[in-house]
């Protein structure tokens, strides 16, 4: 049974809520991942491909171990050859020109059980996600009069299991050694975790893009517009995919 010392309790509590779920962390992660994708697929950076496209060889591992975060960052910020899309994104990160979260919705709130199932499945399909990113880039560009490149729109899905449920660790709980004779369950010891709703098992779809806001009022207006229109874009894409794979929704709806 996984057991931690009482002194480590706060670290476990804070790590999940303040690191993994933090908005800025999600955005920067998505920008880094997108930069690597662009660097490999569009900029055709050989060294980046050798570093991240695992080929199962010892040579790959030996090369991987020669790199660290600082070396990757420097290599992308100051490329030896022509600067490409990956370099552009890394400079945005360095200058803290971060993408904005323009859309966030719990998948449970989409209409129709089968549509939700199709959406969850298709979010693992790179072609579907790419097509969605293109449509959202078109919408953002035309709606807000700015050029939003399709490769700067990131559609991501995230599943947050309740930290309280995770503390139970599948079939058993994390135990806390608190100087008492017997270990106690993490969720029983932690005041913070006791207050967390165990049903908080949320799966989200989020969209990040380089949208700028001029003040809070404009931010809210744009977010409201994005909320309704991007929901429509996603719903239409799911319906099209569902019809393509399973036939007309009306024919399969039960």
């Amino acid at each position: 049974v996984p057991t931690i010392h009482f002194k480590g309790k706060t670290a476990v509590e804070k790590h999940e809520t303040q690191v993994y779920r933090h908005k800025v962390r999600l955005i920067t992660d998505s920008m880094i991942t997108r930069a690597f994708e662009l660097g490999i697929e569009i900029d055709e950076l050989g060294w980046l491909r050798e570093l991240f496209v695992y080929d199962g060889t010892e040579k790959f591992i030996a090369n991987y171990l020669r790199w660290d975060d600082a070396r990757v960052t420097t290599a992308l910020l100051h490329p030896l050859g022509k600067a490409g899309l990956a370099t552009e994104l890394f400079w945005k990160l360095k200058n803290r020109q971060l993408f904005k979260r323009v859309y966030s919705k719990q998948i449970a709130y989409f209409e129709g059980a089968v549509s939700k199932l199709v959406l969850v499945k298709e979010l693992r399909n790179a072609a579907f996600v790419q097509s969605l990113e293109e449509k959202i880039a078109d919408f953002l560009s035309s709606e807000f009069g700015v050029v939003v490149p399709k490769h700067h729109v990131v559609v991501g899905s995230f599943a947050f299991r309740s930290v309280k449920e995770q503390s139970r660790d599948s079939e058993g709980s994390i135990m806390i050694l608190a100087g008492e004779k017997n270990p106690r369950k993490f969720e029983d010891v932690s005041t913070l975790f006791r207050s967390i709703n165990e049903k908080e098992n949320d799966q989200f779809i989020e969209v990040y893009a380089p949208l700028m806001y001029d003040g809070e009022v404009e931010r809210r207006k744009k977010r409201d517009k994005c909320d309704s229109d991007i929901t429509n874009i996603i719903t239409n894409a799911v319906d099209t995919q569902r019809e393509f794979e399973y036939g007309s929704p009306q024919h399969v709806r039960t």
């Binding site: 599943a159 369950k185 799966q203």
Partner: protein
């Protein structure tokens, strides 16, 4: 069949309600073994355990296809462990998904249902303890890929951190024979 579909079919076959995560995991384990589905299991506290099934369960809950209720049975023993069981019910949306699956993948759903029938006939009476011991026994025998004595199975179980008696292994062997998972 994917893990999330399998979880729904198992729940449906149990009448839309199933008591305990361990029972669900072990039932899924046997279905996966019998049908050769591509879902991985590893040795865990209470026998073979699949993170994919666990994740499918969490996803189905988050999408509103399954409802989970925790039942507390108080505190037990010197350790002061709280006994808690998690019960799962299929929601109306979960029922909708099942109808969709049965429509789209009728043969796969039927094979899983037949498999669950086979387990029930062999002695799966929703007793998670017995099923867990049977799953541990089968996991060990399959891992060794050779015939083993009851004592050898018991000893290997201890190596994996599982305490099972020779009597329990013998009872589990009966179940496995009835389910045609091991030779008579």
């Amino acid at each position: 069949m994917t893990a999330d579909h399998l979880v729904l079919v198992i729940l449906d076959h149990a009448g839309g309600h199933l008591s305990g995560k361990t029972l669900l995991q072990k039932r899924a384990y046997f279905v996966v073994e019998i049908l050769g589905l591509n879902i991985r299991f590893k040795a865990h506290f209470y026998g073979p355990f699949s993170p994919e099934i666990e994740s499918a369960l969490a996803q189905s809950k988050s999408l509103g296809f399954i409802q989970e209720n925790a039942q507390s049975f108080g505190v037990t023993g010197d350790e002061g462990f709280e006994l808690r069981r998690y019960d799962f019910s299929l929601t109306s949306q979960g029922g909708e998904i099942l109808s969709f699956l049965k429509n789209q993948q009728p043969e796969e759903c039927q094979r899983v249902e037949e498999c669950l029938e086979r387990l029930a006939t062999a002695g799966d009476f929703s007793d998670y303890v017995s099923l867990s011991i049977a799953a541990k026994t089968y996991f060990i025998v399959k891992q060794r890929n050779a015939s083993m004595t009851l004592e050898e199975i018991k000893s290997h179980a201890e190596y994996l951190g599982w305490k099972i008696s020779a009597g329990e292994v013998s009872k589990a062997a009966d179940f496995l024979r009835n389910a045609k998972l091991i030779a008579a």
